[in-house]
C-alpha cells in the first residue's frame, strides 16, 4: 500500500528483532474478547483514480458554487482570494508540520503567528492578540468565559443581534457555570440601549455586542463601552465580517476590552462553514486570563531575533484543569492564510476592498428600493450587509436568483421567527460582484 512503506518481509524481520513470534504477541493487553476477529465491514480500498472519481461525483451533487455568487453572508463571506496566497499555502512546510513546540524548527509558523498578531493589533487597536480560536462562535464563548474569570462576576448581557450560532454556542459553553444570561433586544436593527441601563449592575461581568451585527447594523460601541465601564464591567465586541475593519473605527478606539473576531473574510474559502478562524484581542493587563496560543518575540542562543509560543503557563498542557481553556489544536494554518492575505492586501488593499464592499452594498440596496419590489425595514448604518423587505414571494425570488446562478440572500425568519421578519432578506455584497451583475440582479427581481 503506497502510504505504508514497510514490506511484509521487513515486518517479519522487525518482529524477529523485537523477539516475538507474531504480531498478536504485541497486543496481548487487548483482551481477546475485544479483539476483532474479522475485518471491519467497510468498502474495499479504492485506487486513487477510483477515489477521485467517486468524490468528484459527490462534489458534483452540489450546485456549481464556483459560478454561483452568493448574495448571502450571515457569518460566512465569499471574498476574492489572490492565487498567490493559495499557492503559498500549499508549501508543505506550512501544512504538514505540528504545533510549533520546537521553535528551532518552526520559525515559519511562529513568525507568521506574530505577524498576524501585529496585523490584528493594528486593525483593532488592541494590545494582545490570540491568533487562533476555532471560529467566531467559540471565540465569543471564550471571550465570555474570560470576562467571567477577570471580573469574578456572574452575569453576562448579550445583544440578541449577535450571530444566532454564536449566541447558541455561548449558551452551550456557559450552561455548566450557573451564569445569568440576559439578552438585549433589537430596536431598528440595532441593539437596544435603553433597557441596558436597567440591567447593568455590579454583578455584570460583560456586555457582548456584535458590530456590524447579525442584521448588518453598525452598533454604537463607544456609547455601550461607556455605560459598561461605569459598572466596571467589560465590553466585548464581536466581529463576524472582519473586512469591515478596513473602514470602520477600530474597537480599541471605542473603549472595547475584548474583541472576538471571525477572520474568515481574510483569505478563507466558505467550505460549508469550516475551517475558519477567529482571533481574541484584549488589553495587556488581561493577558493572563486569555485562552489560546500566543507567539512572542525573544532571542536565540546566537543573539538573533526569534519567536516562541509564550505565556504558556495559561495552557492546558501545563495547567491542566486550571488552564484558561482546553484549547490545544486550533486553526493555525488559517492564521498563515490570513497573514498572507493581509500582506498582499496591505494598508491600501484592505481599505479599498472594504470601501468597495460598502459602496456596492449600498448601490444594490438603492437599486432594489428603486425597483419598487423592496422596502426598507430599518434606517440603520450598515457595512456590506443589509436587511430589506421583499414584497413578493421569497420562494419565487430564490428560484429566480438560482436560475440566474446567484445564491439567494438569507431569509432571516427561520432564524429569528418574528412577524416583522417574515419577508425580510439579509443581502451581503462583496467585491466579487460587479456593476453588471448587481444591475442584472435588480432587473431579474423587478
Amino acid at each position: 500500500m503506497r502510504y505504508i512503506p514497510s514490506t511484509e518481509k521487513q515486518q517479519v524481520e522487525m518482529l524477529k528483532d523485537i523477539g516475538v513470534s507474531c504480531f498478536e504477541d504485541l497486543i496481548q493487553n487487548v483482551p481477546k474478547k475485544f479483539r476483532l476477529d474479522k475485518p471491519l465491514n467497510l468498502p474495499p480500498a479504492l485506487s486513487e483514480l477510483e477515489l477521485e472519481e467517486k468524490i468528484t461525483n459527490l462534489a458534483k451533487k452540489n450546485t456549481d458554487f464556483y459560478s454561483t455568487k452568493p448574495l448571502i453572508g450571515a457569518g460566512a463571506y465569499r471574498h476574492f482570494i489572490p492565487e498567490a496566497q493559495k499557492s503559498l499555502l500549499q508549501r508543505e512546510e506550512f501544512w504538514t508540520c505540528y504545533t510549533p513546540y520546537q521553535p528551532e524548527l518552526s520559525q515559519g509558523t511562529l513568525q507568521s503567528m506574530f505577524e498576524f498578531q501585529s496585523f490584528i493589533a493594528r486593525l483593532t487597536k488592541m494590545d494582545v492578540i490570540v491568533p487562533s480560536i476555532f471560529d467566531g462562535a467559540s471565540a465569543t464563548a471564550e471571550a465570555a468565559l474570560m470576562a467571567l474569570r477577570l471580573t469574578h462576576r456572574n452575569k453576562i448581557i448579550i445583544s440578541k443581534l449577535i450571530h444566532p450560532h454564536y449566541l447558541k454556542t455561548i449558551y452551550t459553553y456557559l450552561a455548566p457555570h450557573h451564569i445569568e444570561i440576559i439578552e438585549l433586544p433589537c430596536q431598528d436593527g440595532l441593539t437596544q440601549m435603553k433597557q441596558l441601563e436597567q440591567i447593568l449592575d455590579e454583578s455584570t461581568a460583560a456586555l457582548i455586542v456584535q458590530s456590524p451585527n447579525f442584521l448588518g447594523g453598525i452598533e454604537n460601541l463607544s456609547q455601550f463601552s461607556e455605560m459598561v465601564h461605569q459598572k466596571k464591567a467589560l465590553m466585548i465586541d464581536i466581529i463576524a465580517e472582519s473586512m469591515s475593519l478596513g473602514i470602520l473605527k477600530a474597537p480599541g478606539d471605542l473603549g472595547v476590552d475584548i474583541v472576538a473576531g471571525n477572520v474568515q473574510s481574510f483569505g478563507m474559502d466558505l467550505n460549508l462553514g469550516g475551517p475558519y478562524n477567529a482571533f481574541l484581542a484584549t488589553k495587556k493587563q488581561y493577558i493572563r486570563q486569555i485562552p489560546g496560543r500566543i507567539a512572542g518575540e525573544t532571542k536565540d542562543a546566537r543573539g538573533n531575533r526569534a519567536f516562541v509560543m509564550t505565556f504558556r503557563a495559561r495552557e492546558q498542557d501545563i495547567r491542566r484543569e486550571k488552564a484558561t481553556s482546553n484549547m490545544c489544536t486550533n486553526h493555525n494554518l488559517n492564521v498563515v492564510a490570513a497573514n498572507i492575505y493581509l500582506s498582499l492586501m496591505g494598508t491600501e488593499g484592505i481599505y479599498q476592498y472594504a470601501l468597495l464592499n460598502a459602496k456596492m452594498a449600498h448601490y444594490l440596496e438603492k437599486k432594489l428600493l428603486k425597483s419598487g419590489k423592496f422596502e426598507k425595514i430599518f434606517n440603520y448604518p450598515y457595512f456590506n450587509e443589509f436587511l430589506i423587505q421583499y414584497k413578493g414571494e421569497i420562494e419565487e425570488l430564490n428560484q429566480i436568483l438560482s436560475n440566474h446562478h446567484f445564491l439567494p440572500p438569507l431569509a432571516v425568519y427561520p432564524l429569528i421567527p418574528e412577524k416583522k421578519y417574515e419577508n425580510a432578506l439579509l443581502f451581503a455584497v462583496t467585491e466579487i460582484f460587479n456593476r453588471n451583475e448587481l444591475d442584472h440582479i435588480t432587473s431579474i427581481l423587478s
Binding site: 500500500m1 502510504y3 505504508i4 512503506p5 515486518q11 518482529l15 497486543i27 465491514n41 468524490i55 459527490l58 462534489a59 458534483k60 450546485t63 452568493p70 448571502i72 460566512a76 465569499r78 489572490p82 503559498l88 508543505e92 512546510e93 501544512w95 504538514t96 508540520c97 505540528y98 521553535p103 524548527l105 515559519g108 513568525q111 501585529s118 493589533a121 471560529d135 450560532h165 449558551y171 452551550t172 470602520l248 477600530a250 474559502d269 460549508l272 462553514g273 512572542g296 518575540e297 526569534a306 516562541v308 484543569e321 481553556s325 482546553n326 490545544c328 489544536t329 486550533n330 498563515v336 498572507i340 500582506s343 494598508t347 484592505i350 481599505y351 460598502a358 449600498h362 448604518p381 460587479n434
Partner: protein, 493 residues
C-alpha cells in the same frame, strides 16, 4: 529574518482592484462619520513578489512531515496524502456556503453522512457529530453531552475521573464542563490503578476519561474491570481517541463499552496538522446519548431521497460552534478511509505497533524504558541515565535536530516518577524501517555524545535556522506584536 513590516515601502501594492470602484456612491453619506475611521489602518505596503519571497523563505524555516521523521509521541505525525488535499479543494466543496439550501449542498451532506457510517463501523459507535473542531473541542462537547445526560436523568454528578497519565486537555475540558477533576494515579505499570478507580468511583461521579492505548503508549490490560467499575456505578466511559492509531481493525471502543468517543481526524485519519490545526475532533456516542449531541445532525430522508440537517431536538446540548463542522477536514478523512479499506486500516495500526516496539527494543539499552513491556503505537523511554552529565531529554531533543530529525515528545507525560525525563516516540505506519534504523542510530550516537561530549548536547541545536530560544525572555519582556517591538526599540533609545 525580517518581518513583512520591515519590507514595507510607501506606495507599493500587492493587490488588484477592478476599474469600476462605484465612485458615485458617497459612503460617508450612508455611514455616520462617527463610525468611520478617518485614517486607513496602517498595515503594510508590499508587492506580490515580496509576499511570495517572504513566505517562501518563512516556509523553509519550518520542518514538516514531508521533510523527514516526525516521531512526536501522542501526535501521530503520519503522511498526509496529496489526493486528500485535492479532493478537499474541489470548487463545489470549497465555495459551498453553509447556509445554502440543502438541495444545493447534497454532495457535501452525503460526504458527512457517509463518513458518519464509516466512523461508526470503525469504532463501534452509533452516531457521530461532525461539529467539534479539535480533540479538545470534542472533549468539551463529550463532557457536555455526559453532563446533559445526567441532568436529563435527574442525577447530580459533579466529578470526573481522569488518570494522571491523561493529556492536559482532558482535565481542562472536564473543568470547562463544570466538573471537578479527580486524578487517578497510575500503577508502576503505567496503567490505571483499579483500586484507586474503584475507590474514587461513586454515584456523584460522571465517569472516566480514558485514552487507550494511553498516553504512554500502553494498552490498559484492565479495561474490562475499568468498564465494570464505571458502569456499575451508573457512570459513563469516555474514550479519548487521540491514540486510535493503535486500534484500527484491532479493537473498537464501542465494543469495549465506551459511551462517548472522540477521534482526532488530524492524527489517526491522516489529515494534516497544519502547524497547529485545523483538525477535527468528531464525537461518537452510543444510542442512548444521541439525543444530547450538538445540533444539527446530518440525516437522510430515505423516502424523498435527500440528505438534510436535522435539528437534534430539545435535549441537545445546543451548538458548540458556528455552522456544521470543519468540512474540508472531513473530506480528507473520508478519502483516506476509502483509500485504505478494511485491510489497510488494519495494516496501518499493525505497522505502527510493530514500528514502536521495534524502536523500543533497539533503544532500550540506551534509554531506559518507562515501562518494561510491549507498547502500542508509541513507546516511552527516559533519559534518566544522562542526568549525571547534566543532560536532560530537552538536550537530547535539541541535538536530534542537528541530525535533521524532528524530536519526539519530551514535555509529556509529566507525571511521576518520570517527570521531565521521558521521551515519547511515535513512529506511525508511514515510516519505513530504514527511517527508523537511521533514527535509532542517531539516538545511540547521541547517547554516546551525552557521555563523551555533553557540551555538544547542552549547546544544541547547531544546524537549525535559529539557535535555542530564550523562552523566559519572551515572558519577562513580552513583545507580542511588531508595534511592541517598535516601542521597545524606542524605549531602549
Amino acid at each position: 529574518m525580517k518581518l513583512i513590516f520591515e519590507k514595507s515601502i510607501p506606495g507599493r501594492d500587492g493587490f488588484s482592484l477592478p476599474s469600476d470602484l462605484f465612485e458615485e456612491i458617497e459612503i460617508d453619506k450612508d455611514i455616520p462619520e462617527d463610525f468611520l475611521d478617518k485614517n486607513k489602518k496602517n498595515l503594510v505596503e508590499v508587492s506580490e513578489v515580496d509576499v511570495i519571497r517572504h513566505f517562501t523563505k518563512l516556509s523553509k524555516l519550518n520542518y514538516g512531515v514531508d521533510d523527514g521523521l516526525y516521531p512526536l509521541g501522542s501526535c501521530t505525525m503520519k503522511y498526509n496524502p496529496r489526493i486528500n488535499e485535492k479532493m478537499a479543494s474541489l470548487g463545489q466543496f470549497t465555495h459551498a456556503h453553509p447556509l445554502a439550501s440543502i438541495k444545493m449542498i447534497q454532495g457535501s451532506l452525503e460526504v458527512m453522512y457517509q463518513l458518519n457510517l464509516l466512523l461508526c463501523e470503525i469504532t463501534g459507535m452509533d452516531q457521530y457529530t461532525m461539529a467539534p473542531a479539535s480533540g479538545a473541542h470534542g472533549e468539551l462537547t463529550g463532557n457536555l453531552i455526559m453532563r446533559q445526560y445526567f441532568v436529563d436523568h435527574g442525577e447530580k454528578r459533579t466529578k470526573m475521573l481522569i488518570p494522571d497519565s491523561a493529556h492536559g486537555t482532558n482535565p481542562a475540558s472536564a473543568a470547562m464542563a463544570g466538573f471537578e477533576v479527580i486524578e487517578i494515579k497510575s500503577t508502576s505499570n503505567g496503567t490505571v490503578d483499579l483500586d484507586a478507580l474503584q475507590n474514587a468511583m461513586d454515584e456523584h461521579t460522571v465517569g472516566l476519561m480514558l485514552t487507550n492505548p494511553n498516553t504512554v503508549g500502553l494498552y490498559d490490560g484492565g479495561i474490562e474491570s475499568i468498564e465494570r467499575i464505571i458502569h456499575q456505578k451508573g457512570g459513563l466511559l469516555y474514550y479519548d481517541g487521540a491514540n486510535l492509531n493503535a486500534s484500527l481493525g484491532i479493537m473498537r471502543p464501542g465494543d469495549v463499552g465506551f459511551d462517548v468517543v472522540h477521534l482526532n481526524l488530524h492524527k489517526t485519519f491522516s489529515t494534516p496538522h497544519g502547524g497547529g490545526g485545523p483538525g477535527a475532533g468528531v464525537i461518537g456516542v452510543k444510542e442512548r446519548l444521541i439525543p444530547y449531541l450538538p445540533t444539527p445532525i446530518i440525516d437522510y430522508n430515505a423516502n424523498e431521497k435527500y440528505f438534510y440537517l436535522k435539528d437534534n431536538g430539545e435535549k441537545s446540548i445546543g451548538m458548540v460552534r458556528s455552522f456544521w463542522g470543519n468540512f474540508a477536514v472531513l473530506v480528507k478523512t473520508y478519502a483516506w478511509i476509502l483509500s485504505l479499506g478494511p485491510e489497510y486500516l488494519y495494516q496501518a495500526s499493525k505497522t505502527s505497533i510493530i514500528n514502536a516496539n521495534y524502536v523500543l527494543k533497539k533503544l532500550k539499552k540506551y534509554y531506559k524504558p518507562a515501562y518494561d513491556q510491549y507498547c502500542g503505537h508509541e513507546c516511552t523511554l527516559t533519559g534518566r541515565e544522562y542526568k549525571k552529565y547534566n543532560i536532560k531529554t530537552l538536550h537530547i531533543a535539541k541535538r536530534l535536530m542537528d541530525y535533521g530529525i524532528h524530536p519526539p515528545t519530551i514535555y509529556f507525560p509529566h507525571f511521576e516518577p518520570y517527570a521531565e525525563e521521558t521521551i515519547m516516540i511515535e513512529p506511525p505506519e508511514s515510516e519505513s524501517k530504514e527511517n527508523l534504523d537511521e533514527f535509532i542510530n542517531v539516538m545511540i550516537q547521541i547517547s554516546q555524545e551525552a557521555e563523551s561530549n555533553p557540551e555538544i548536547l547542552l549547546s544544541a541545536p547547531h544546524n537549525t535556522p535559529i539557535g535555542k530560544t530564550d523562552d523566559v525572555l519572551a515572558v519577562t519582556k513580552p513583545i507580542l506584536t511588531y508595534d511592541d517591538e517598535l516601542r521597545s526599540i524606542e524605549q531602549e533609545k
